[in-house]
């Protein structure tokens, strides 16, 4: 039999652990590079906005944080579905590793949104469809972490948490389309695939910041996933070998 490339191999923690360890520095470096380029364009080069003045520059973090808060949730729901369907060990570790980063992104989205809303709308907070559904997303992240932390057996925790994630996934399209479905105070999307209402430098600044946040989330989630893997697989031979190797 020929030794062919097998994707399933990487679903095994023993293979994933060293691979993740090698990839983290690259994702971290990419995040810093994209971040510096994005901040340079967004904060130093991009012109002012004719309606919002310099306050618009908050979007360079508000939009990437909001995108990531939704995207991370979708990735977690994907892992939860895989875990519930195929009972894979890696899935529960990935949802656990991603949840805190997703919660922080949802918090940053709300925080920067409040600081933008005060000067532009005159209110830190309004019960608008977009804002309310994003707040529910933050509660879903916190609920997932609290629920899984409250169950001692990791397998049962993964199952209960996975169900919560799958039920809550309905909220993501609600957030995304809220500005179309309802008459919201929150403005519609400034970026879309066919035409964009933004200046070129603003658009590039925002896309670079989005890449920065994306690489950041991957790096920090992999870092956390490695810790969870050691903890959960501590009785296996590969973890014992790994720990003995670290000791040398």
């Amino acid at each position: 039999m020929t030794d062919r490339f097998n994707l399933y191999r990487y679903a095994s923690p023993a293979t994933f652990y060293p691979l993740a360890g090698r990839m983290i520095p690259y994702f971290a470096a990419l995040s810093v590079l994209f971040g510096l380029a994005g901040l340079y364009l967004g904060m130093l080069v991009a012109p002012t906005d004719f309606q919002q003045g310099e306050g618009y520059r908050i979007i360079f973090i508000h939009v990437p944080a909001s995108w990531m808060s939704m995207f991370i949730y979708l990735v977690m729901a994907f892992w939860a579905a895989i875990g519930l369907a195929f009972n894979t060990r890696l899935s529960g570790m990935m949802t656990q590793a991603l949840a805190p980063t997703g919660a922080l992104m949802a918090f940053l989205s709300l925080w920067t949104g409040a600081l933008w809303g005060k000067p532009m709308w005159g209110a830190w907070w309004v019960w608008d469809a977009r804002l309310t559904s994003e707040l529910i997303l933050l509660f879903l992240y916190i609920g997932f972490m609290a629920l899984t932390a409250a169950i001692d057996d990791p397998k049962r925790a993964d199952k209960a948490g996975g169900l919560l994630l799958l039920v809550g996934v309905v909220n993501v399209p609600i957030i995304y389309f809220s500005v179309k479905w309802w008459n919201t105070l929150h403005q519609g999307s400034s970026v879309n695939l066919t035409k964009s209402s933004m200046a070129q430098t603003m658009l590039w600044g925002m896309l670079l910041m989005a890449l920065c946040f994306w690489m950041y989330a991957i790096a920090v989630a992999l870092l956390r996933a490695r810790t969870i893997m050691l903890e959960r697989e501590r009785h296996t031979d590969w973890v014992k070998a790994e720990l003995a190797g670290v000791e040398r």
């Binding site: 971290a28 904060m43 130093l44 080069v45 991009a46 012109p47 002012t48 003045g53 310099e54 306050g55 520059r57 908050i58 973090i61 508000h62 944080a65 805190p100 980063t101 922080l104 918090f107 940053l108 925080w111 920067t112 600081l115 933008w116 005060k118 000067p119 950041y216 790096a219 920090v220 870092l223 956390r224 490695r226 810790t227 050691l230 903890e231 501590r234 973890v239 014992k240 720990l243 003995a244 670290v246 000791e247």
Partner: protein, 62 residues
């Protein structure tokens, strides 16, 4: 290329300084603290698992 006339202009953000720097400040803080906390947890976990492993090996050797 640079849009700003002076560093003071940059800091003032056309009167939106508090809101812009309040947003960026908290974001930078979180994106610095989160990896530091995660790395610290990893270090502590590895140290604890190594202690447990050594204790197990001692018990089986006796």
């Amino acid at each position: 290329m640079i849009y700003w006339n002076s560093f003071a202009d940059f800091l003032a953000m056309g009167g939106y300084g508090f809101y812009v720097w309040g947003s960026f400040g908290v974001t930078v803080l979180i994106m610095a603290l989160e990896p530091i906390t995660a790395a610290r947890t990893q270090k502590l976990t590895i140290a604890r698992l190594k202690r447990q492993l050594r204790a197990e090996n001692r018990n089986t050797a006796e």
